[in-house]
Symmetry: none
DNA sequence: GATGAATGAGCTTTCATTCAT
DNA sequence: GATGAATGAAAGCTCATTCAT
């Protein structure tokens, strides 16, 4: 029976994860520079100084959040890109898999997308490289589809990729809110839109 | 005979606009809370204290940037929505007109999109209402098109609107850069994508 | 008639020097790490934050104090070492010229002697090199005197140098206090001691 | 069979002495206020909190180090002063006995000399009294020598004492290092210097 | 118009210390 | 004996803002 209030329900590792969780939530809401370490501590019901038992610095917390926010994007996309499916099928799968982390850990993804710029150069560059690789994979699938005649030859693969990413990434702002919709629905609607367009046939 | 370097050729009003221009640029690059008034002053070649001759406060500068960043979106969209064109034509026009300010004043739009959350509640709510109205206009055009049989009946107008806005808004990150493309091209590619999709017919 | 309290008697450059003066005094009294920036501000009758208008950081203040604390040692010693005087005459002059800055700016010298270790490595090494050179000059004079037969052949020039420096440097602790004596007296007594010893002849 | 690495071979009392040893070493290197309890713990391979099993506080550690650092100075000096030897012989013995603790426990002596100022007033004053007494003993020997005609009548006993102490105390900075020399040598050189001076006879 | 000087408020971080285990 | 977890207090520093000039 734990006596202290704060140490209540927390395994050694779990507590550290909770700190990062809180950081992600507050960074997502107020932006990195708009967040004080006090904000994070308050959300956890601990004192500000106690954060530093688990986290080296505010910036380190951002780095951890961003790391978890980007994880999962690249790996699945490569897997999908390499399966033998049609280009359309693979693109639909990519949309679905891109929205998945946004569904599960929206704060982490949002922070990764909007706050990673505040990471120190070295880390930022490394992440940018990963992101660039991810875009490349999607672009490759589109090029494939054009070459094979499955996708419209007039398509600009680069801009199509940016469109796909743009609409999916902005979903961090509204997915699972009243203003928006759930992932399943969103994934279906976005795939259809991307592949078939709005025009009735 | 102007002695100071910076104060050289500047009408009273023009100078004030330059201050806001500089604020927009730095806010866009470093985020609102990541920007110091010193950053803005440095970009203008003046001293920190001199900013306050033109601007009431840092927050006031943000408000002005956001105001100019949102201007032009709503007016044109209503005009377009009300012209007698087909739904497809009107949507293409909306895409074009939405990208226009991004082309002309990317910093202002970017700041409006990402930093308006840091405005005090009253101002923020007012802007949100405008934004909501804007979304409503687009959604209306899509509903029109579905009703008239021009657009696919299975379309979710809300999600289609969010998709359109998402892909256009994210363009603030790359339009006119080497990584992206110019507006004309982008508008054409995005309209086609939205209306016809990627699949070859 | 100056209205503000603090800005009273202070030319632009003079004020900065006053800040460093205060820092030297407090560092000398409480040691570098034992001093808070608040201590320095209090001695000047200004607010802590105001220090940073003149000084980049506490460490920068230490660097400035040390720089002024070491200045004057080397230059004179080289001059003296090179004049055509006897070894005994030159050593007496070195003692006198070494005690001079201790008389004029005891705090600066004391801080240089005891706190320079807390400077960042680069600066510290540079200062150490200067100090080493200074010791070398004195040692050289002693070697000269031994070679010419003026000084006792059994003398260890290195240890004699360290003795000279030791007794002079410790004078920072008591010179011009009731516990000690004035410079003139001290210089005379130390020269005689060094050259003739305590034994009566 | 001891399980923990660090706690291996250590009697209860011996361990406490090791803690103070470590404190002395780190205080000597980084100064009292420049040392963190973590620094001391790290040098022992234990955790910060574990220090408090042996030491009441950081300040208490300083007090213990200073106590051991000053021990041995006074007792021997009184013994020497009281033996029937010549003034010169007694001064040489004092130099030797003053350098002895510097040789054996340089860190303790150095900390005593440079950090005792940070002890709370009561303790500091008590130590100062002891130090003053020590100086008095040396000064007495010199006065004796002058009175008896053994030492030069023009000698200022106070300044001669301060010279002796200055050169010996500064030896904490270099004794037994490559830059300096061993105790035996140093004691011999310093005695001769003090008594006979540098001039050849 | 512009700025040098100053500051209140607040920020991130450090640190000695405590205490239940 | 030793330590993981936590914290009160304070440190150095930044920053938006003011104001006399």
């Amino acid at each position: 029976m734990p006596a202290t209030k704060a140490a209540a329900a927390a395994s050694p590792k779990r507590r550290a994860a909770e700190i990062i969780d809180a950081a992600a939530a507050v960074f997502a809401e107020k932006s990195y520079h708009g967040t004080t370490t006090q904000d994070i501590a308050a959300r956890l019901g601990i004192r500000q100084a106690s954060l530093y038992y688990y986290v080296r610095s505010k910036e380190d917390a951002l780095a951890q959040v961003c790391k978890l926010g980007v994880e999962g994007f690249l790996e699945f996309s490569e897997e999908i890109a390499g399966n033998g499916d049609s280009a359309a099928g693979r693109l639909a799968a990519i949309v679905r898999s891109h929205l998945a982390p946004i569904d599960v850990r929206p704060d982490y993804v949002k922070v990764f997308l909007t706050e990673r710029q505040h990471l120190p150069k070295v880390r930022r560059k490394a992440i940018s490289r990963t992101a660039r690789a991810y875009e490349g994979v999607i672009e490759g699938v589109i090029r494939d589809g054009i070459r094979s005649g499955e996708l419209a030859p007039a398509t600009d693969p680069r801009l199509a990729t940016l469109a796909l990413l743009g609409m999916c990434n902005e979903a961090t702002r509204w997915i699972n809110t009243a203003r928006g919709a759930g992932v399943e629905e969103t994934a279906r609607a976005f795939s259809r839109l991307l592949l078939d367009g709005l025009i009735r046939r």
